[in-house]
């Protein structure tokens, strides 16, 4: 009897999880569906769900009008570059905070996070002026630096929590065996924290990929990533929802596929250390 309830509850949970999942995914699904409609079908009321004349016209128009490859390449460089640079800086920082904490470590961690509390637009002008002086406007390297700085607190925090789960004794043992600091971090700590580092990496790639304030405001024609590509299809006077959806689908496709393939890593990393 108890078993029956359990399996019933299990089925219910599964259905509930699927329901919530579909609900969250629905806007993306709708965008993808809309990208295959004509502009008239895209705004028709009542809306059409699956039974319409599927067309690839929007994709061909978007391909013709924009250089998708260049936007994609910029996104890959900016998201990948800022994340890797961030990890390189954050691993030693998180190591010191996790294994050799001082009195002020907690304060520093909080202070780092507090930089995320200021609305980005509050520092738009100072950063813009700095970028003019340094000649970094509309360059990929400029965006790599800014996005790295913006995401650094999150990277440090995530790595810090993962590192805290690793027993300090293991590192001590390595030190007893004569490992240098570099070897200790590179060959002992990093391999043990791989799930954590991987999920930090993925999450930050996604955050940087979707970042739409700095990537729009600090670029013009050369370094603009996919966020600018989407923004170029939004119109105040004219209904281009199908084309906008096609552009959005093309912009999220790479990251969606990456997320799909790495979801195991992502989930195991995010729940890493959740249960002791």
């Amino acid at each position: 009897m108890a078993r029956a309830i359990t399996s019933q509850r299990k089925a219910l949970n599964t259905a509930l999880a699927w329901g919530v999942g579909l609900l969250i995914f629905f806007p993306i699904l709708w965008t993808i569906l809309t990208s295959f409609k004509t502009e008239a079908q895209a705004i028709s009321d009542p809306p059409v769900f699956l039974f319409f004349d599927w067309t690839l016209e929007n994709y061909s128009v978007v391909q013709e009008r924009s250089d998708y490859g260049r936007f994609l390449w910029n996104s890959i460089i900016i998201a990948g570059g800022s994340t890797i640079l961030g990890i390189i800086i954050a691993v030693p920082a998180a190591w010191s905070m996790a294994f050799v904490p001082s009195k002020r470590t907690k304060d520093i961690l909080l202070w780092m996070l507090s930089t995320k509390m200021l609305p980005a637009v509050g520092v738009l002008y100072p950063i813009y002026l700095l970028f003019i002086k340094l000649g970094l406007l509309d360059t990929k390297i400029g965006l790599v630096i800014v996005l790295m700085l913006i995401n650094l607190p999150i990277i440090v925090w995530m790595l810090y929590t993962y590192f805290k789960e690793i027993p300090g004794e293991i590192l001590e043992a390595a030190r007893m065996d004569g490992a240098t600091l570099r070897e200790e971090v590179l060959y002992i700590l990093t391999p043990m924290a791989i799930p954590g580092i991987a999920s930090t990496l993925l999450l930050n790639v996604i955050l940087a990929w979707n970042e739409a304030f700095w990537t729009l405001n600090l670029t013009a024609a050369k370094a603009a990533p996919l966020t600018a590509f989407i923004a170029s299809y939004s119109s105040p006077e004219g209904l281009f929802y199908a084309k906008l959806s096609a552009a959005s689908t093309m912009a999220i496709a790479p990251i969606l596929i990456l997320g799909w393939f790495s979801q195991k890593q992502l989930v195991s990393g995010l729940t890493f250390g959740a249960v002791k």
Binding site: I43, R65, Y125, N217, A220, Y233, P236, E237, G238
Partner: protein
């Protein structure tokens, strides 16, 4: 002999140098409106004529505004041409942020630019941005529904008639709403419509001493009229509707009337997108007999930020894109209904353009709009659907929120007006008026 060779070589070198200096790549920031998309598609014609290349940065309107404002105020130099409107041009021109366009060649025929457009894009008689296309607002209505209601739309109706017709056309059971108007908060959304409409009711934003006027009876009359009319004859959820939402409703035959930008006329009469393309009539925006019509004036114009290194190439582009020849080029490739409207007088004298169904009413709407004298009582500002002062966008954004909340029934008209009066007074005092 040697001298001859030397001279020849020097000439050749200077020619090469001149050639490389004259072929430039200019960066243009613009919005994703239909006419701009067409312009991007025709850029090859410009490149073939001048040798200059063009790089386009297309952004959503609000993003574009923030982007170009940041760049021009910091002299970032990221753009050689910016697509700006009638709100920014006089403010930026006055600040010296734009290159004056007073030295355009005679064959460009700057005098051909519609006087209302020219006036709105000039400071003390100097043109600072050339209009690419212009618009006013007018009534677009369903001829079949009007007939069914037993009414006839005059060319120049009153608000009283429009309200009566809207209520008569409404058939909520069949999803037909007599009138669709902007309700979405924003200085360029509901406030553009309401500020222009308030002019027709005798209201104004500020008196001559820059005192906010939302506590005056004219504003109360405007807002009550609008909220009541929308409750009786407007579509559900109207406080979320902007230009695009109403366009969609109208194209699907759900609106009896729609008062909005004249540029919408080409969308609603296009049989590819609109289910009511052959049943649309046009009329001037309504008045209340006080001498002002609630029709606005706007231009999307091309301006050159001061400080760009490529002023000459940028000027060449502006001359190309806003010329008579460009209009002919678009007409030849895409048809007369698709040429950029509302910028040049000669377009409306062209016999080919007279066949376009909305041409006459668009021109009459533009001609009847006067941004330098927008209200019944005198005002210290220029602009019909806005006041051309830097503070306006911020203040009107907040007022728009209050008015949208009144339309949604979250607060009364009196509450909305009291809040609007208080916040406008505060902001204007803080700004030193």
């Amino acid at each position: 002999m040697f001298a001859k060779y030397a001279l020849g070589a020097a000439t050749a070198i200077s020619l090469i140098a001149a050639g490389s200096a004259s072929a430039e790549t200019i960066t243009i920031a613009t919005v994703n409106n239909g006419d701009m998309i067409r312009m991007q598609g025709l850029t090859d014609d410009f490149t073939a004529k001048t040798g200059h290349d063009v790089e386009w940065v297309t952004l959503e309107e609000n993003v574009l505004r923030q982007r170009v404002t940041t760049d021009i105020t910091t002299k970032g130099g990221q753009f050689d041409i910016m697509t700006i409107g009638m709100y920014e041009t006089p403010i930026w021109g006055k600040n010296g942020w734009l290159v004056p366009l007073d030295d355009l060649p005679a064959d460009y025929d700057a005098d051909d630019i519609l006087p209302a457009m020219r006036g709105g894009l000039s400071v003390d008689g100097t043109l600072y941005a050339a209009p690419f296309y212009g618009e006013s607002s007018m009534i677009m209505y369903r001829t079949d529904l009007m007939e069914k209601a037993g009414l006839e739309m005059p060319d120049a109706p009153t608000w009283e008639f429009v309200a009566e017709a809207a209520r008569a056309m409404t058939d909520k059971d069949n999803g037909i709403y007599g009138i669709c108007l902007r309700g979405k908060a924003g200085w360029g959304e509901n406030m553009a419509f309401l500020t222009a409409t308030a002019n027709a009711f005798g209201a104004r934003w500020f008196d001559e001493n820059w005192q906010a006027q939302f506590d005056q009876p004219e504003w109360k009359e405007t807002l009550e009229f609008y909220v009541n009319l929308m409750n009786d004859a407007g579509p559900p959820g109207a406080s979320n509707n902007g230009f695009n939402e109403n366009l969609s409703l109208f194209q699907q035959g759900k609106c009896g009337m729609w008062i909005d930008a004249t540029v919408a006329a080409s969308f609603v009469t296009n049989p590819n997108d609109s289910t009511v393309a052959d049943k649309v009539g046009f009329a001037l925006a309504p008045d209340t007999g006080k001498g002002k019509r609630g029709n606005w004036l706007w231009a999307w114009a091309l301006g050159i930020p001061a400080g760009t290194q490529k002023t000459d190439a940028a000027k060449e582009f502006i001359q190309w894109a806003t010329s008579k020849e460009y209009i002919e080029l678009v007409a030849a490739k895409e048809g007369w209904a698709n040429v950029p409207p509302g910028a040049r007088t000669s377009l409306y004298e062209d016999p080919n353009y007279k066949d376009v169904p909305f041409a006459r009413m668009t021109l009459e709407s533009i001609l009847s709009a006067d941004p330098t004298n927008p209200t019944v009582d005198p005002v210290p500002y220029v602009g019909i659907q806005f006041a051309a002062i830097p503070e306006f966008a911020g203040i009107a954004g907040q007022v728009g929120q209050e008015f949208a909340a009144a339309l949604a029934g979250q607060q009364s008209v009196d509450e909305a007006l009291a809040k609007a009066q208080a916040l406008t007074t505060d902001e204007m005092e803080a700004a030193g008026y």
